[in-house]
Subunit: 212 residues, 2 copies
């Protein structure tokens, strides 16, 4: 069911929008983005995916991938043949339950982003984004306060519903205020409490910084 690891160079497509669906993919190492190409040529980023996360579940409904998945750094993935997974999960209830939880978790994650896009302002969105990355790195045994962004300001902006200039300016402001230290793609969270306070300040989902 799970095929051997495959490697993808930075910039390589794991799959493309429109391709037939056959498998979901587990990121083993590296970093991916998923994105939809809009008619006018711009792209909308729908997610960033790191080690241990599953991509491709949005294709189950139509058997066609609705978005592209692109490696943001050299990466390894495990292909999971979906009908074999379904077959197996018929015999192993625990696996079945696990699959359903993973599908549902994706829905919850998306609701969190809808919340962010629908009700937070720029600083809150960036703070939520950084804290979410931090927490995911921490869960994988990496530093929660110091990491490298794998994506451009434009990709962050697309994901958060902001323009790249706004992303850049907000990073600069956070740095000026001593919340973080940025130089290019390298980020250090210097005052996580204050970052959480940015999130929690006004008219938004407080305390729910695991929302993304």
């Amino acid at each position: 069911m799970v095929s051997a690891k495959q490697t993808f160079k930075r910039g390589a497509y794991l799959y493309r929008a429109g391709e037939h669906f056959q498998s979901i993919y587990a990121v083993r190492t590296g970093f991916f983005k998923t994105a939809t190409l809009l008619d006018d040529g711009r792209e909308q980023v729908t997610g960033f995916h790191m080690m241990g996360e599953i991509i491709g579940m949005d294709a189950i409904s139509t058997d066609i991938h609705p978005c592209d998945a692109i490696a943001l750094e050299d990466s390894e993935i495990c292909e999971i043949h979906f009908s074999q997974l379904e077959q197996l999960s018929r015999d192993i209830p625990t696996l079945q339950r696990h699959l359903h939880r993973i599908l549902s978790r994706e829905i919850v994650r998306d609701h969190g982003i809808m919340l962010l896009l629908g009700s937070m302002k720029a600083e809150e969105r960036l703070a939520a984004f950084l804290l979410n990355l931090s927490q995911r790195f921490a869960a994988r045994g990496y530093s929660s306060s110091s990491f490298n962004l794998r994506m451009t300001r434009e990709e962050i902006g697309s994901y958060l519903g902001l323009k790249l200039e706004t992303v850049s300016r907000t990073f600069s402001k956070f740095q000026k205020d001593g919340l973080i230290s940025v130089q290019n793609r390298s980020i250090e969270l210097q005052d996580m409490v204050a970052l959480k306070r940015v999130l929690g300040q006004q008219g938004c989902a407080t305390g729910k910084n695991d929302r993304i």
Copy 2:
């Protein structure tokens, strides 16, 4: 597995955020909204649900409902006991596949809203919203051009990431331009082609008007 129909008066809760998860629900008649109550008391609407649609799938991942589900008019629902559904879907591959498609469709739907919230402007969002409702009514055998909104301007705004005044103003503008006719909750789409053109105009997901 499927219990007898239950009825809910307008305003009644089908379930509340924080409650233990046991079942998903199929809307038989009527109209529901799902919403998360934010810490500051405001609510973020995450979806509107009509006849034939399934609610509650976001609770599978944690066994706790992350949002409220509230009837917007007198409604009937069918409760589907989820572990019984899982049990049954082990024996009936077609059912299993169907369940997976439904879960995945919810993910795709959410990605559509993320797209809308992240890259469309007010008029485009409203046009997408109206066309989506229209298409869902049509699919159920109701008029695609004339229907009643079950929700307030504020709820529409919360769903679309707009303030209620903006929703109202945009409806008025559409009416002035002859695209629709509104009086209170009753809507008539008078020029669907033009509405689609609003959607498809600038820097947004054109032609993908089934996106919501």
